[in-house]
């Protein structure tokens, strides 16, 4: 706001502060501002507010919740969603934080390794997921072929067993998104001044000390925001489950996002589908509130 310090001509300064600073917006400028925000406001109203409102209305029928609770697939989908969020998100972020330390090392090898390591992020999700799905086929897949070639035993039925199938979905999620979060943490680590580590080393702090007393406290805020964001995104993740296990075997690996789509489109009951999705709100709302609060504290920006 200190415009006067940069505008040297005192005769100009008051004009500037009157026309640009003090009065919010006047005359034609106001019209221009209105015209400039209209596209976004239109998009927001037509494609966010309206669908959200319509979705709430669709999911406001108590009867569909009764129907939902009577459906034996629903409780298992809730449990799967919770396991998926807790295991996949935390495993992925913990690994990403540790791996970002490896890529902080100097030298051509680590730089080359990083280029290869981010491939899963650069390759579109659907081809990778289809490949993982076929790779895990118990009869003809690469993994079980390799197990047979190495040990002459039959590999486990990855996608035909409920627990293994959920594990496979978690594996695919971690594989696909680990590079993205590693790069985020890498940027976070690069922002930490090197002198902190150097002086700690002089004082005799080991690698673990340095991690727990410098890296983690300084990246804590970022780590929390990433956990919240990643949980929200994973809650809405449709593709991993759809393409790895397809919700099978026998509907045992559905999560709320895929079950909602199934109920709405495969069973042709949009109200039931919306009720399925909305049952995630008690989890989603606290996450969003925490995230907004954390972002407002200003330590971490998106």
């Amino acid at each position: 706001m200190a415009i006067a310090t940069t505008v040297d001509n005192p005769a100009v300064a008051p004009v500037v502060s009157r026309s640009v600073r003090r009065s919010p917006l006047a005359g034609t400028d106001r019209l221009w501002a209105l015209a400039f925000v209209t596209p976004y406001v239109a998009v927001f109203c037509a494609f966010v507010l309206y669908p959200v409102g319509y979705g709430m209305w669709l999911g406001s029928d108590v009867a569909s919740y009764r129907q939902l609770l009577a459906d034996p697939v629903f409780p298992s989908a809730v449990v799967n969603t919770l396991i998926y969020l807790l295991v996949a998100v935390n495993l992925k972020l913990a690994l990403a934080l540790l791996l970002s330390g490896l890529f902080m090392r100097r030298g051509w090898w680590c730089r080359l390794l990083l280029l290869i390591f981010i491939l899963p992020w650069a390759v579109p999700g659907i081809p990778s997921f289809i490949s993982i799905h076929w790779m895990l086929n118990s009869q003809w897949g690469l993994i079980n072929n390799a197990i047979w070639a190495l040990f002459q035993v039959d590999g486990p039925p990855w996608l035909d067993n409920a627990d293994l199938a959920l594990g496979s979905v978690i594996y695919a999620h971690v594989w696909k998104w680990l590079p993205f979060w590693t790069v985020i943490f890498l940027a976070g680590r690069m922002a930490i001044p090197r002198e902190l580590y150097e002086s700690a080393e002089v004082d005799g702090a080991g690698a673990l000390d340095r991690f727990f007393h410098i890296t983690f406290p300084l990246l804590g805020g970022l780590y929390l925001v990433c956990t919240l964001l990643s949980t929200i995104w994973a809650l809405g993740d449709f593709n991993s489950v759809r393409f790895i296990s397809g919700g099978g075997p026998a509907l045992s690996t559905h999560v709320l996002a895929t079950l909602g789509i199934r109920n709405a489109f495969e069973l042709g009951n949009p109200a039931l589908g919306m009720a399925t999705v909305l049952s995630a709100l008690p989890l989603l709302i606290p996450l969003v509130v925490l995230l907004t609060r954390q972002l407002r504290r200003g330590e971490v920006q998106l």
Partner: protein, 286 residues
């Protein structure tokens, strides 16, 4: 043991550890990708075999995909065209709407700018798939069933909030005095927008344009729900159709998937630095 040899031993152990970790990471990263290439190089009978390495590698599957000479690949290039058309339109609209909005919020300082920022934050916090059901009905009401415009609308909606955040952040580094000086010279808001703001925002535009293009190139769920006719579907939807067919031409599927994956990979690696700086811009402040 002397201090020097002790230090040397430590360094050796560290190097060994890094070597092992690198090997594990390489295998972890490359196995699903290797599988994609392996299956694409297999012949039709080879797909159902128990080998780990292709016995008689052939490029037939790629030829089939390129010639569209298999019924599920009939319109492969048409689908690539649809994906490209939707991706470019989404990138353009995201850039246009995102820059106009962030310009108004942070450079024209409208009074209720925070409402727009909160609207963007709200959109950002809604998982995209959760709106699929109402969106499908609403697109029916708008008369946009099986119309690429419907998919473009969703993707612009979900790409714009992130664009606004990044533009606001990046724009903060452009001195406001530039605008003021232009104003004194009599420039109107559109002139400031086009002559000063946009040129100085170029790096952020590249990052967000790439982001929006890749987001829509990779998107599956909405394209799957909103597009139905063969002439309109995008590549991921076409690939998904393979899984529903009784035959399992995995080699063709993987060859088509690789062709589809190459352009975004090339873009990604070409713009990697700009993308990364955009994505992680100000990851940690202070």
């Amino acid at each position: 043991m002397s201090v020097a040899s002790r230090a040397r031993l430590d360094r050796r152990l560290t190097e060994l550890g890094i070597g092992l970790l690198s090997a594990v990471l390489l295998i972890w990263t490359l196995v699903p990708l290797y599988n994609m290439v392996r299956v694409a190089l297999q012949g039709k009978e080879d797909v159902f075999s128990s080998n780990v390495f292709p016995t008689a590698p052939t490029l037939d599957s790629f030829a089939t995909a390129i010639d569209e000479s298999y019924w599920l690949l009939e319109n492969f290039w048409g689908q690539m065209g649809n994906s490209l058309y939707i991706g470019l339109t989404v990138a353009f609209l995201t850039l246009a709407i995102g820059t106009l909005t962030s310009f108004t919020i942070s450079r024209m300082r409208i009074r209720r700018g925070w409402m727009l920022t909160n609207a963007a934050l709200l959109t950002y916090a809604i998982p995209m798939s959760f709106l699929a059901i109402p969106f499908y009905s609403i697109m029916g009401k708008y008369g946009l069933t099986d119309n690429p415009i419907a998919v473009i609308a969703v993707e612009v909606t979900f790409a714009t909030p992130y664009a606004i955040f990044i533009f606001k952040q990046y724009g903060a580094s452009i001195p406001l005095e530039l605008d003021d000086a232009a104003r004194i010279d009599g420039a109107s808001p559109p002139q400031i927008f086009f002559r000063i703001y946009l040129p100085l925002m170029a790096p952020a535009l590249v990052a967000i344009g790439t982001y929006a293009l890749l987001l829509s190139w990779n998107e599956y769920l909405y394209a799957f729900l909103l597009l139905s006719s063969d002439g309109h579907i995008t590549v991921p939807v076409g690939l998904g159709k393979f899984l529903n067919s009784d035959e399992a031409p995995w080699n063709y599927l993987m060859a088509a998937a690789i062709i589809y994956a190459l352009p975004p990979m090339a873009i990604y690696y070409a713009f990697r630095r700009k993308m990364n700086s955009g994505l992680t811009m100000g990851g940690v402040k202070g």
